[in-house]
Symmetry: C2
């Protein structure tokens, strides 16, 4: 990165000041004259038929302007795919989870709206519920949708090579059942929006990761062309997939209220609404079967996933796809079979979350590989190196790896003093035992799904040499705006502060699939680079004309433009900008760029082909202290050796990896919705335990440098890898400390203490 | 136009509904939480030295948040050119016109701000003023600027051919003095803005014709890069040049208040402020000398203009340029000399207005030509046809006419029954005499000044086949948004409602010089057409691939895409859009386009070259009734034969011509600021008499069709021509009715009655 001035530098977030001073406006901060407040009335039952809704008392409350029920949406439903449209803005005939929206009110202020929502009387006929996906699959289980047999919301199957042959070739075959937990994305800004419907159509100021998803939903729901739907992006206080990557009851209701009342209408969910009704990560049961030779070579893997989908399908088909298609990385796997079932239950809806889909099956496979290596007496490093893929590589399901820092990452971990001292530091004499664990994982960057996945960018030159940059890619807190601006500044030899980026506005920014699947740096970054290059070409032609040289000889560096090899031919960038903009009748200089990946066939239904544009590789070491009395685990240290290609902003890559690691730690050790027949028992941030700063380990992030040909400046993803690698490394560390293989997330003190007690009893050491 | 589906059709304004229902938001409608109101304290003297400003009482008033005086702007000044920066946001040492801004207050509401502005005490030392430009030019006259001799704010000179030789060749040479009046642009929406200054820079929601002018002023005044200044365009209630085409004290003060208080700050000028302090059309004295042969051929013209510039230069240099450079149209003129002097006086500032600059000198030349034709016994039609230019034509100062419907227009008027009956209808026996007059004029379209004059456009395809269109060109009421959208719809074979256009926002729309000089249809229209064509090319390549034909064979028409000559190969446009956007990884389709006129040398200082991209030609007939007792003139009918190339929206061309004609009529007959030593004596719309609906004549607009190679679909300007042609046609009609040549605007009843009395006395017919 020695040639670069801006790329690869630890540049602070460009939105840091606005956020730290409180100047940054989030959706909930928006106020408009005459604005009404919307509140949602929700079902107190997990499964019930709606017999009657009486809104009369609510309507009579002074200050109430309008009330909606599901019928006002005329049967409209939405879903991720045309065939999975099973969600209504407000439920009409049936509620399928506790907290499902059934009515909405619009009133002059928040208190009145809340009071009115409580005055809505719904007559229900309770139905038997089903809350466990394995139970729900059984014959005779209550059905959420009458036509859906066995409550299978979506199933997905892969079969490559010959797993039976693979298992026959193995010296050891093992089968295990793993469980991953019910966790939520944990943003601190609740969903919120302000809607305005007027003769120009819909304007919605909404906290969305992917405004263009919402724009399609709104156009469809309100029968408007897309160019009459405008989603404007305020600042966003965290996304992480799931809720903010989809539309919500509040979005549809505020728009319809605005249409009916002519007023702007706002909603802000409470944190209790977030924790009880918003989309969460699917909890899953993973049955994994692996074959291994004596030398550690994996011969085959077969997995079966049962996911708790909750009441609606949402983005679930993609989740199911991701549980399988990424299982063929990061290790060579010649034979692979996968069956994934997403099951409807009367729980809140399972959806996407950072590390989407992959975190479940990788957790299972990674742990199982360690178990088997242990059985076969093979070192954790050795078994990984034995199976690790190297670039170039094509998996059995045609995932193509063009750059790979996996081996280097594993070696980096293995060479770390903490790993070398592993056996020495293991256990202690006291009540606290110490363990060191490892994992290696891969995650996709530049997600590719079906359909409209390219990114585009527009870069406008101002005549003083500064730039305006338009992108449809959303910074929902991950710092992508800073990285995108760096790319443009680097291309033109400018400083970050010379480039201004505006928040997404679907009416003016180029269409973009959104901020998920680690796609922004990779795809929007490529588009930004290409747009900046188009500006550069236009400017270079003016400079070349000025100096009578060829445009290819013009260099842009350090705020100046010069001729290669002729140091005397040079001028400041802003001077060239002025010359260009004021020559003749005046040029307007605009660059547009697309993420220019070729068209590759991706078979979503069969799990063939690239789910991403490139693949990151994470190798991780984790150290834990386990209190053998209480079962309490404290994670003390992590070392994350991450191959994100080239870190375009190392401070951001570090922060993203650290943040993801702590989020992964929450998942491994602390976070879990406790449920009682569809009711969330811990719907507050006091009882739903996300790790806080004192719970965070020391996290060292090591950049493993590779150069991916696809990403801008060789960049790949950073942070989804780390959330995938944390749980298995924590579990292997705990195993190292305690000798016990745990297979269920989260590793609560109760589970650990009970297991240690049982182990002591079995070993006869318990007194 | 038979081939077109959208172009050439009488399509209603796309913003009509929003405006008629009151939904359209103007700057004054903007409300923001915590917003402060700004009011300006103004000088009660036309010329005075500021000795002291005491703001203490204003500051003490409860609710006042901040007070500004000129010093807070650190000596910053602005002006149209670097060397004409003579205006301060708030005057510091001296006030030069009555009503000049000297201080400003920001308070919690409008009333408090107004009260506080009145509490500001300014100590002045009155200076002798000068209010007449001819007086101001004299040696020894009081100077407005100590270093400016003879108060000459700007002078401009042209000299082509040999006028002395031309006069020698003439059979008749005549010299006259003409006067044009003090009129204002007459928009009904007063200037207003809301400013917000935060860490992203300046955001200003402001009623501006040319937001990019203001953006440059703000960047310069507040020392910000251009990409940190965002001017957002609300709807605009009329512009017509002058005030809304420049920055105002209110703009600078609200921004500085916002910077200092952290709050949004708003100002709305009162109509009294508009009528006493805002920019108005220069009133001018035009000395004209013309030589004519017996056969009516004009041999030479020499003009001298003395313009009342008021206290500052503003856009005056361009006005002076336009008084001369356009004098060589619409008639052949081999020898031309012109001297224009813009003079500082202690009056409000003279600036641009519809028909900018041209209306004064054309009025003089057109009347004088008629006078001379009359003396030589030549018919008004004949003298015009004798001298009329035809395309292609290059004037003596290298103005190039590529299309010209002048002869056809004159013939159209001459063939009109009203003209044919002219002598029959002339005069009456009663107290009302009737007259029919004629004029012919030319105006530029697609104004070209110095510097950054190109337009650009961005057109984004939505995947449902609708489009978003970004332009920096402002519709300030003239209907240009509708025309621009028609162009894009036509190119892509769509309907107007398929294309959405957003208001200008300097942070996202392409840089554009603005809405003046009849440039929007011609230049922004060309850019729109090119951008739409780029979208078409991208889509055509998908269609061509689909049908295995060449892209050039693809047709876009009536919402469908087809292969030329293969009617079976066809699909709806929206289907192709979806195919394109969802092929492979999904295309994002964006077109950009520039107004692609070649670079031509324009010598602004010498008046050589094209001030416009094309030239319209207007031939007009006007009928009047003159009450010989009261002198009151009623204009009964107008016929306007206008060559605007191709009328892209005939209903709009008609309305623009009608509006301009009525505005021109106001100027010819009614409107005039009555001044007393710098004080405006009629600062209300009751006393400043703009024509109302009952004052409007019947106006027939006849489109003279030509095809200009420069404009989109052959279009040129519509409406500035008609404001130029009205006054001379009214004056010739009045002459026809009364036999008197009037040379001063406006033709008030007093002037007419006095002249008729004098005439009767001279003729001895008065009793």
């Amino acid at each position: 990165m020695e040639d670069h001035s801006v790329i690869g530098k630890r540049i602070p977030r460009i939105d840091g000041r606005a956020k730290v001073t409180g100047e940054a406006k989030y959706a909930a901060d928006y106020q408009m004259p005459g604005m009404l407040w919307c509140k949602i009335a929700r079902s107190p039952h997990a499964h019930a038929r709606i017999l009657n809704i009486d809104t009369s008392r609510a309507k009579r409350l002074p200050g109430v302007k309008d009330v909606l029920t599901g019928k006002d949406f005329n049967g409209w439903r939405w879903g991720w795919m045309p065939k999975t449209r099973d969600e209504e803005p407000l439920a009409t005939e049936r509620v399928r989870y506790l907290g499902e929206a059934v009515a909405a009110v619009a009133a002059v202020d928040e208190d009145t709206a809340e009071e009115a929502a409580e005055l809505i009387r719904v007559e229900y006929e309770e139905l038997p519920g089903v809350f466990d996906p394995e139970e729900a699959m059984k014959e005779g289980a209550p059905r959420l949708y009458d036509h859906v047999e066995n409550n299978i919301s979506w199933d997905f199957h892969m079969d490559f090579g010959d797993v039976e042959k693979g298992f026959r070739e193995a010296d050891l075959v093992r089968e295990d059942r793993f469980e991953t937990g019910r966790v939520i994305t944990g943003y601190l800004e609740p969903p919120a929006a302000v809607a305005l419907y007027d003769s120009s159509g819909i304007t919605l100021w909404a906290a969305k990761q992917s405004p263009y998803f919402v724009y399609r939903h709104m156009a469809d729901c309100f029968k408007l062309p897309l160019n009459r739907v405008r989603i404007i992006q305020p600042f966003i206080g965290g996304g992480f997939g799931g809720t903010k990557n989809d539309s919500l009851a509040g979005d549809f209701c505020t728009v319809l209220f605005s249409k009916r009342t002519g007023k702007p209408v706002k909603f802000v969910y409470t944190m209790e609404e977030v924790l009880t009704t918003c989309r969460r990560r699917h909890n899953m049961i993973v049955h994994n079967k692996m074959g291994m030779k004596k030398d550690g070579t994996i011969t085959a893997m077969q997995s079966k996933v049962i996911a708790d989908g909750g009441a609606h399908t949402a983005i679930g088909p993609l989740t199911m796809y991701l549980t399988g298609c990424m299982s063929t990385l990061p290790y060579n796997l010649p034979n692979f079979k996968h069956d994934a079932y997403r099951i409807y239950t009367n729980n809140p809806i399972g959806a996407a979350m950072r590390g989407h889909g992959v975190t479940h099956t990788r957790f299972a496979a990674e742990l199982q590989m360690e178990m088997m290596a242990e059985e076969l007496g093979i070192d954790p490093v050795e078994v990984r190196l034995k199976n690790a893929v190297t670039a170039p590589h094509e998996t059995v399901n045609k995932v193509t790896v063009k750059s790979c820092g996996l081996v280097e990452g594993i070696q980096e971990i293995a060479a770390n003093p903490r790993w070398k001292e592993r056996e020495k530091t293991k256990g202690t004499d006291g009540p606290v035992v110490h363990g060191v664990g490892m994992s290696a994982t891969s995650y996709l960057g530049g997600a590719r799904q079906r359909g409209h996945q390219s990114c585009a960018a527009i870069v406008r030159l101002c005549e003083d040499g500064t730039l305006d940059y338009l992108t449809g890619a959303t910074d929902c807190g991950q710092g992508s705006d800073t990285v995108l601006v760096q790319i443009i500044a680097e291309e033109l030899g400018l400083r970050v502060e010379d480039v201004d980026i505006k928040r997404v506005d679907t009416a003016v920014t180029p269409c973009d699939a959104g901020s998920y699947g680690s796609r922004v740096t990779v795809l929007a970054g490529k588009a930004a680079q290409n747009a900046a290059r188009e500006v550069k070409e236009q400017l270079a032609s003016f400079a070349a004309e000025n100096w009578e040289v060829r445009p290819e000889e013009i260099l842009f560096k350090d705020g100046a433009v010069s001729v290669q090899g002729s140091p005397d031919l040079s001028m400041p960038f802003d001077k060239l900008a002025k010359i260009a903009c004021y020559s003749g009748s005046g040029a307007v200089i605009i660059g547009k760029g697309y993420s220019d990946y070729g068209i590759e066939v991706l078979d979503f239904d069969k799990g063939i082909g690239n789910a991403g544009t490139s693949y990151s590789f994470t190798s991780q070491l984790t150290e834990v202290d386990v209190d053998t009395e209480t079962g309490f685990i404290r994670c003390t240290d992590m070392v994350i050796a991450h191959d994100c290609g080239r870190p375009l902003n190392p401070i951001n890559v570090e922060a993203q990896n650290q943040g993801a690691a702590v989020q992964g730690l929450g998942q491994a050790l602390y976070e879990e919705f406790r449920m009682d027949r569809g009711r969330t028992l811990n719907p507050t941030l006091v009882d739903y335990k996300m790790p806080l700063a004192p719970d965070s380990p020391n996290i060292e992030v090591i950049d493993i440098l590779t150069d991916d040909p696809g990403g801008p400046y060789g960049a790949k993803e950073a942070s989804e890898g780390a959330i995938v690698s944390v749980p298995p490394s924590v579990f292997t560390a705990v195993h190292h400390a305690t000798g016990i293989w745990f297979k269920e997330q989260p590793l609560t003190p109760e589970k650990v203490a009970m297991a240690l007690k049982k182990k002591r009893e079995q070993e006869g050491t318990d007194g």
